[in-house]
């Protein structure tokens, strides 16, 4: 029996509101091989950069009492390898693939996307402005609305496909950055990346992540995402893609109610590779139980 529930963004309709978040689904290939992409509207790839990046020294993953710290450092084989090896394999995915793009300087974003335009595989892009702007002493691009607008404008110029700008909650104003992304021509904003976090062993005084601070994710952060989705979706007309803290169907419905067009699942996917299927089932059955 076909259910009547549909969600849409970027002129496409989906039977699920769930996107698989960047960095937790690879390029979807492993999940496809296991049959785990059912229930996912689209996969967002891990970060792709111009040059290969080996990533940060380990440990890169530390559990805290109520969440997870990661410091992957955008490890990826670089856009050449992505084009040569990964995108051809990803051509068979049963759902669209959005390529997440990162850079160390403003110009790297359009440069990577220009290269990605050579492939027919991507459905769109997600531009990660949460990473450090090397030219500005390591402050995130996303901290400055001017830089966010500039990156959006540059990406718009080279891209034939829609793109979302993935904002940071750690610096600047997420609402101002969302407006700047929209002004620069972005087709969506992703709200948002992980929160800066850290764990220290008090006995030794040492950080447990090799790089001291990292990105913190936890189901306990859901209310933070809800607030930011609510505020940005009030401020812009483009779709808001929610990211952060989802591990239940209720969480997805709450983020949609707060203004999200679609909802990403990240950390939870590492625990449950079949999360998209489970969560979509949960969403449908809650909607059914709620309808009169």
């Amino acid at each position: 029996m076909a259910d009547p529930y549909r969600w849409s963004f970027w002129k496409r309709e989906f039977n699920s509101p769930i996107l698989l978040a960047s960095g937790t689904a690879g390029f979807g290939i492993e999940l496809m091989e296991q049959g785990f992409l059912e229930g996912a509207a689209a996969v967002i790839s891990k970060a792709t950069t111009l040059k290969p990046r080996e990533g940060n020294p380990p440990p890169r993953i530390i559990e805290t009492r109520f969440g997870l710290l990661n410091s992957i450092g955008l490890a990826n084989p670089g856009v050449d390898e992505v084009l040569k090896i990964l995108l051809p394999q990803a051509a068979d995915l049963p759902c669209p693939l959005i390529i997440n793009v990162a850079g160390e300087v403003v110009e790297e974003f359009p440069a990577v996307i220009e290269r990605l335009e050579e492939s027919t595989v991507p459905f769109g892009y997600e531009v990660n402005v949460s990473c450090p702007n090397v030219a500005a002493g390591g402050i995130a691009f996303g901290a400055s609305p001017e830089i966010v607008e500039r990156i959006s404008t540059l990406v718009k110029r080279v891209s034939s496909r829609p793109f979302s700008v993935k904002l940071t909650p750690n610096e600047g104003s997420i609402v101002e950055s969302a407006k700047a992304a929209e002004a620069g021509g972005a087709d969506a904003v992703t709200v948002c990346n992980t929160f800066l976090g850290m764990k220290v062993d008090w006995r030794t005084g040492k950080a447990l992540l090799k790089r001291s601070v990292g990105g913190y994710s936890s189901p306990a952060l859901l209310p933070l995402t809800v607030a930011r989705v609510f505020k940005t979706s009030e401020a812009v007309k483009i779709p808001v893609l929610a990211s952060g803290g989802v591990n239940r169907a209720e969480d997805i419905l709450e983020l949609l109610a707060a203004g999200a067009a679609m909802v990403q699942v990240g950390t939870w996917l590492m625990r449950r590779p079949d999360a998209a299927f489970e969560l979509r089932e949960g969403v449908i059955s809650l909607l059914e139980s709620d309808s009169p």
């Binding site: 492993e30 990533g55 380990p58 440990p59 993953i61 559990e63 990661n70 994710s217 590779p273």
Partner: protein, 246 residues
């Protein structure tokens, strides 16, 4: 489903899970499982455990309680079902002949399954004390403990002097990083070249997507413990950069 549970040593448990026959078919020695230790959301990630051995349609793991995840697991009773992913990763490349197995502490947890697949072998087993010394049946064993409470007194490296390295066609090494590094560095070169190690790293996913489980690679860069390993040629690892990871 958990169908067997035994505290084989203080704080060290053997758990037996019922699994599918396709699982058994793929459960080569050295591969591992990712176990969801709690029903609630914390701890957030699964916990990796080496497949210790398989019998019929069941798989065994041996683990030590070292933190919250293993604590919760140890409290879980027979009859409960836990989500289990696997077999994951790459196991040992097996070749015929006599093997040398070198295990430190819980590092020997995967040796029962390996023992079943090799022609013959010698096992060097080290532990802090007899309370931590696993029993691996079916192999000639030389044991050593730091406090001398079982076997000789000393570190596993103290056993290496008398090893006739050229009599083995394969070497398996598993234990804490400093122990593996020390053993590897004491080996003559030809032995290094036939040594496979089972590495450990903090894992996120366990199936190759998160890049969380990096192990320093000889010559630079990183290997993924979960999908390039967990069993690696010992020579492919940069032991210097491994220092202080665990």
């Amino acid at each position: 489903m958990i169908i067997g549970k035994e505290e084989i040593l203080p704080g060290i448990f053997k758990f037996e899970f019922k699994v599918s026959s396709s699982f058994i078919a793929e459960a080569e020695p050295g591969r591992f499982i990712q176990l969801e230790v709690s029903h609630g959301p914390f701890p957030v990630t699964r916990r990796p455990f080496t497949i210790s051995s398989t019998y019929g349609k069941s798989v065994e793991i041996i683990f030590e309680v070292v933190g919250r995840g293993t604590e919760v697991l140890a409290e879980t009773d027979v009859g409960r079902s836990l989500r289990l992913l696997g077999p994951l990763g790459r196991g040992y490349l097996l070749n015929p002949g006599k093997w040398l197995l070198i295990g430190g502490g819980l590092g020997a947890a995967g040796f029962p399954g390996l023992t079943a697949k090799i022609d013959s072998g010698l096992l060097l087993l080290g532990a802090a004390s007899r309370d931590k010394l696993l029993t691996i049946p079916g192999l000639e064993t030389v044991a050593i403990t730091e406090d001398g409470s079982s076997g000789r007194k000393g570190l596993i490296t103290d056993l290496l002097g008398s090893v006739r390295w050229d009599s083995f066609s394969g070497i398996a090494l598993c234990g804490p990083v400093p122990m593996m590094k020390a053993v590897f560095e004491m080996m003559p070169f030809p032995a290094q070249a036939i040594t496979q190690v089972s590495a450990e790293a903090r894992m996120g996913c366990g199936w190759g997507v998160c890049e969380g489980c990096s192990v320093p690679k000889a010559g630079g860069g990183f290997l993924k413990c979960c999908s390039d390993g967990p069993v690696f040629q010992a020579e492919s690892i940069d032991w210097e950069r491994c220092e202080g990871i665990h």
